[in-house]
């Protein structure tokens, strides 16, 4: 990077990765809780897991993978100096984030409609494994959803900077870091999907 201003791009990226590692440990802790409760209540977890909508989960997996592709492509585009293209890719990524959250809204509405929510009468009378499953599900997926909201906002902010020209082929570490965060969101979903939707 030859730039007249002093900019430590390697340092900026290192900082972002260190933050992402703490995120991995945070979600790792939630996955660990899942594993412990699964081994304690295999029966309740299986019953509860069968209530999940695999179509929503699969669709959202495909959407997040696609959004991750578009985010990665926006970095390639900016490196090649193609700003307009980068903006289109970023717009596509944010659109995917919105579709993901819309799906989530319908999915959660359906589940809450069926009486699956923390402290619901249906779960209160169910065996302990089932309410443990749904508590962990809402906690993990809710925290992930929060990350989708933050990541989408971050990308929108970065897109404005790309449009204004303050992010360009000579200085794009901010875009890189924002997309790294977005890929982490995808990464975590890659584990949520089999654990909550498939294996039970």
């Amino acid at each position: 990077m030859t730039h007249s201003q002093h900019k430590d791009n390697a340092g900026a990226k290192l900082g972002m990765w260190l933050f992402l590692f703490t995120e991995l440990l945070l979600f790792g802790g939630l996955f660990l809780l899942y594993a412990v409760y699964l081994s304690r209540y295999p029966q309740g977890f299986t019953t509860a897991g069968r209530e999940m909508h695999i179509v929503f989960g699969t669709a959202n997996t495909a959407i997040l993978i696609t959004s991750s592709l578009l985010a990665a492509m926006s970095v390639t585009a900016i490196q090649r100096g193609e700003r307009r293209q980068a903006l289109w890719f970023l717009g596509g990524t944010i659109l995917c984030a919105v579709i993901f959250l819309t799906n989530k809204y319908f999915e959660w509405s359906a589940e809450i409609g069926h009486g699956f929510y923390p402290d619901s009468p249906r779960l209160a009378t169910a065996p302990p494994g089932e309410s443990a499953f749904f508590s962990l599900y809402y906690m993990t997926v809710g925290l992930h959803g929060l990350h989708v909201v933050i990541g989408g906002s971050l990308l929108a902010w970065v897109a404005v900077k790309v449009k204004r020209g303050s992010i360009h082929s000579g200085d794009y570490v901010l875009l890189e870091n924002a997309t790294l965060y977005w890929h982490l969101v995808d990464l975590i979903w890659i584990f949520i999907f089999p654990l909550y939707y498939l294996i039970l």
């Binding site: 990077m1 991750s68 592709l69 390639t76 990464l187 890659i190 584990f191």
Partner: protein
Amino acid sequence: MNEQHHIVSHRKLAGVWLALLALTALTVWVAHLNLAVGHVWGSLAIACLKSGLVIAFFMHMKYEGWLLRWLLFMTLVILAIFIGLTFFDVLYR
């Protein structure tokens, strides 16, 4: 600092995307097979493979220097210790 300039082509990224979609289809199919405990490990193996692809290509880890790779490795080791010790307690209590 050559690796900082590495540009991953759209074609390569699209290839990774196709692989990820194919692995997603595979993991859904494996779950339908009902192989008892086998499909739990199968699903997790596929998830690890998918995240490896995302980290290596989408997140450019393949083109990063030793520092980031080493830190990633250390994070995964810490996570593994974390999970291993917890299960050592949970399973043999």
